[in-house]
Symmetry: C2
Subunit: 186 residues, 2 copies
DNA sequence: GTCTATACGGAGATAGAC
DNA sequence: GTCTATCTCCGTATAGAC
């Protein structure tokens, strides 16, 4: 793996673990096994590196969610697959955690990929809910946008509860609770 | 207001805005209008100050949530009141945001008040859901623990979505979506 | 109680040699 | 491309005077 690649991956890991404010260039270099000069040769600095890392992480999350939501099965199946997918719960969401970082939120460039990911996710979820309603499979009383936001929020909030407790249990409860929204019409 | 009090409040604000890793003693002193020596006279250091501030913030949140959940009205009314309460959505949750701070999560003392708050909240919410089910007011198919976790997660996740978008809208959608869980049995 | 002085390491980067 | 030197602030205190 190239040095550039190792720097990028180290940055992705550190952003996940410590956020932008908690991540130092020195730590990136240590993780990547790269020297000072090397890092500043490949990237303009911490900001530049973080921007590239955030874009990548967001793109990966999008692909993973899309695989669940555009896969086979009914609307409820696909939302269920998204909700039940295995996650590293105690590490939190690598994109969602950035919303709590003041330097990311204050910087339009850094925030943009985060914004776009969640915007896409809510839209895609609401499309799937709408399909389910149209097919008569989900309760017609469900508002697609509201339900989509609640589902996305259950996952993001599940991470919050789990990290507070240092246990995956609250996350799993939240996911099961959210599944109650799309339980098949009886 | 005493200097000690101003230091505490400044710390609460800064923890909310920047988290533990993003908050410096110097910033606390500036916000509080207190000198270096003054701060170290009243508190042992950043950690000590943060511990006192987190305990206070968590206690305030508990009292606010309890006012909604133990107020008058049916179970659905009270959960509705909790969900719809006005919040400073774009600032995020002053307690929930701490779960994304690596130094808070790594320190059992700092994490404890956060853990206790969310544990209490999920328990209290599940009691109210159980009451509603017993009263025949909520769908008997609802699992109280799962539903409680989903409701707490919708709020916490709503903050995440809202901060990503820098708009309160996704939060409001998530709350309305979560209300679907407790819509009165027809 | 509050102030000023002092300390030492780290954050975040630039410069130039190799 | 990578290395080492250097730089300027800041983070996080401690010490002792007032």
């Amino acid at each position: 793996m190239s040095t550039r690649e190792r720097l990028l991956e180290a940055t992705q890991e550190l952003l996940w673990e410590r956020g932008y404010v908690g991540m130092s260039p020195k730590a990136i270099q240590r993780e990547a096994g790269a020297g000072q000069g090397s890092m500043y040769h490949h990237f303009a600095g911490k900001h530049d590196l973080a921007l590239a890392a955030i874009r990548r992480t967001a793109e990966r999350m999008r692909a993973a969610a899309d695989a669940d939501l555009s896969g086979p099965g009914t609307a409820a199946d696909r939302i269920g697959a998204y909700l039940r997918r295995e996650r590293e719960v105690l590490r939190g969401c690598p994109v969602g955690r950035l919303t709590q970082d003041p330097d990311v939120i204050a910087d339009p460039e850094l925030r943009r990929p985060v914004d776009e990911l969640f915007d896409w996710l809510r839209t895609r979820l609401s499309e799937v809910v709408a399909e389910g309603v149209r097919a008569g499979e989900l309760d017609a009383a469900l508002d697609p946008e509201d339900t989509a936001a609640a589902i996305a929020a259950a996952v993001q909030g599940g991470y919050v509860l789990a990290r507070a407790a240092q246990s995956a249990e609250p996350f799993e409860h939240a996911v099961r609770g959210a599944l109650g929204l799309i339980r098949t019409k009886s």
